[in-house]
């Protein structure tokens, strides 16, 4: 709590005001939004949420995971199976899903960090685990195997908060709550001791260890927090779409989508994932719309666009869109020496914290 208040005090009035206005707008949006806008906003908010969760691991602690679909899938299947087979409410299922994902993350983290596997090797290990699990679930008959797993849908128009059965409006507020939760957790980490340790590990692991940071333990914390948060996104997807296919939920392209969000927005920043999710979703929806309008129906165009956007962002805006935009809008935090630090960071290729 102290961390959040501190961060709030440090932020300039403009960014505080901007954040409040954005929150109020989002809270009242369903009053004016039609169904299309509402579903688009659900995609943006849920993407911002998972992007934020990934960002804690890579943006803060510098551990590149390319297998976050693993936690989405495990979380989704855990809560869905508990609901479908034992009629356990998703609110309890969520806790179990988080526990399962934290356990999985602990195993992966323990295996990897014990030997100091990092960078590319670590990324490949995360992909291997995600693919391994995907194929496993393809043959896991209890949850439908590759034929898919379906959750009971309730009669149209009813809204059952206890079992998360309802329409887009309910899931809109759920997604908003998740996005706010991830934002607060990130903000808290950014100002808290753990966050400073994470960034010390990211910037120079040897120096962090020399300064007395238990790097093994804090890297493990980072992957656990990130996986636990991502599990909730899985539960959200399971109950929003009411169907699960290993081929989709564990797919590597989902992991890539999760990675794209903070990279476009600004890796290691607080608002980057939110902006990245909005940019990515608007781009892909606009492309869908354009393609439909000119009557082209070719699979793969969307992913070519993802590729071009990813390449162009990495090449021309290695820090993402947000840091530059924040500077222009005057949203930067006034911290003694902050401007100088940001400049240093920009010049030596590190990610400034905004």
């Amino acid at each position: 709590m102290k961390q959040l208040v501190g961060l709030w005090r440090e932020s300039p009035a403009r960014s505080r005001g901007g954040l409040l206005v954005l929150l109020v707008l989002l809270a009242f949006l369903p009053l004016v939004a039609d169904r299309t806008l509402l579903t688009t906003m659900i995609i943006i908010l849920s993407l911002a949420y998972v992007g934020q969760a990934w960002n804690i691991m890579m943006g803060f602690a510098g551990q590149l995971s390319l297998g976050h679909a693993l936690y989405v899938g495990l979380g989704a299947y855990t809560a869905a199976a508990l609901f479908q087979h034992f009629a356990i409410s998703p609110w309890i299922g969520m806790l179990v899903a988080v526990a399962v994902c934290v356990a999985a993350a602990s195993i992966i983290g323990w295996l990897a960090f014990r030997f100091g596997i990092s960078g590319t090797y670590f990324a490949l290990l995360t992909i291997a685990f995600a693919e391994f699990t995907r194929i496993g679930f393809d043959h896991f008959a209890w949850v439908g195997g590759s034929a898919g797993f379906f959750i009971r849908v309730s009669a149209g128009g009813t809204r059952d908060w206890a079992n998360l059965r309802g329409g887009p409006l309910m899931f809109y507020y759920l997604a908003l709550a998740l996005a706010v939760l991830a934002f607060l957790v990130s903000a808290w980490l950014l100002r808290g001791r753990a966050g400073y340790y994470f960034r010390a590990i990211r910037d120079n692991e040897d120096a962090a260890r020399a300064a007395g940071v238990d790097t093994f333990r804090y890297k493990l914390y980072a992957i656990q927090i990130s996986a636990g948060l991502t599990a909730l996104a899985g539960v959200f997807y399971a109950f929003y779409y009411s169907n699960l296919f290993p081929e989709q939920i564990f797919n590597i392209s989902r992991s890539i989508e999760i990675v794209l969000v903070p990279i476009i927005g600004g890796i290691g920043t607080l608002f980057g994932p939110v902006l990245g999710a909005a940019i990515l979703t608007v781009l892909s929806e606009a492309l869908n719309y354009t393609l439909a309008a000119i009557g082209v129906d070719v699979p793969g165009v969307k992913l070519v666009l993802y590729g071009v956007v990813l390449g162009a962002t990495i090449m021309f805006m290695p820090h993402g869109v947000w840091p530059g935009l924040a500077r222009r809008l005057g949203f930067e935090r006034r911290r003694p020496g902050a401007a100088a630090a940001a400049e240093d960071a920009a010049s030596d290729g590190r990610t400034p914290d905004a």
């Binding site: 685990f129 693919e131 391994f132 890539i256 590729g307 990495i314 290729g349």
Partner: protein
């Protein structure tokens, strides 16, 4: 199950494994010298496979004649990719390089999807069903040819690194980059040559593999992962390790298809990878970094 059947399966896995090994060798060469992980490796191979399939369908030329032009084209593609896109990224953080190649992979795979559609395509040479009889064993002729060609290409690559001047220069860059710069080697050019050589390997592997299996655009990422699994098991940067890893994975896939189910065969490969990373992260034949 008769012993001959099992031996047959193991032999065919071993022969396919040599082609896998050639593919992985390309990845290993690139990583060993440039320290870049080519995340678009399988996609580049899929491109070579499509070139083979389309040229075969258009003119009916035996894929073995296509080896030279496809390898040359792959070399040129790799050279250009390194020169234009990757060289500016040499000093960037690892994750940035990774993302760049991921972007290339996405564009390639979906470019193929847009150009050729999602259907599986195949090359049917007229000796596809021939086989050699070795006592009670039957060995596919195509597989034997592919394995022999793969070995020949690998030997050629070893020879290039061992006996030519520029092979020596490339090894110098890998051993001591600063020293290589000091004595005046043109490092960007040598890096691009290396990337080209790695791409040539993967192009040759693509031509051969097109004779053995169907190709779809979406098989690209799977091959990338397969190549990673192989080089990590064998030891990233070790050329012999890549071949050994390829054979190991080829055999384990064939055996898994026999004793579990064919759709779960890559699960065994990923299981092997996880085991290797957990207990011997430098790979079976690699040195500790």
């Amino acid at each position: 199950m008769p012993v001959e059947a099992i031996v047959n399966i193991v032999i065919s896995g071993l022969l396919t494994g040599l082609v896998y090994g050639l593919m992985a060798l390309g990845l290993s060469v690139i990583y060993g010298v440039i320290r870049i992980v080519n995340f678009a490796h399988g996609e580049m191979m899929t491109m070579a496979m499509y070139a083979t399939v389309m040229l075969f369908a258009a003119w009916g030329i035996d894929p073995l004649w296509l080896l030279a032009p496809v390898v040359l084209a792959s070399f040129a593609f790799g050279y250009a990719l390194q020169r234009v896109l990757i060289n500016p990224f040499i000093d960037r953080p690892e994750h940035a390089q990774f993302m760049l190649l991921l972007a290339v992979a996405l564009v390639l795979v979906n470019g193929l999807l847009i150009a050729f559609g999602p259907d599986a395509r195949t090359v049917q040479v007229d000796y596809a069903l021939d086989s050699f009889a070795l006592g009670p064993l039957l060995v596919d002729k195509v597989r034997v040819i592919c394995a022999v060609v793969a070995l020949a290409v690998c030997s050629a690559l070893f020879a290039v690194f061992r006996f030519t001047r520029f092979g020596k220069a490339i090894r110098a860059c890998a051993d001591n980059l600063l020293g290589a710069k000091v004595v005046g080697l043109d490092v960007p050019h040598l890096y691009a040559l290396t990337f080209g050589l790695g791409s040539a390997c993967v192009g040759a592997a693509g031509v051969l593999l097109a004779m053995l299996v169907d190709v779809t655009p979406n098989s690209g990422p799977g091959y990338t992962l397969l190549a990673f699994v192989i080089v990590i098991i064998g030891g990233l940067g070790s050329m012999v390790g890549a071949l050994a890893g390829g054979i190991l994975i080829g055999v384990s896939e064939a055996v898994a298809g026999l004793i579990i189910t064919p759709s779960a065969k890559s699960m065994l490969s990923f299981g092997l990878l996880i085991a290797v990373l957990a207990f011997r992260p430098q790979g079976l034949l690699g040195r500790r970094p």
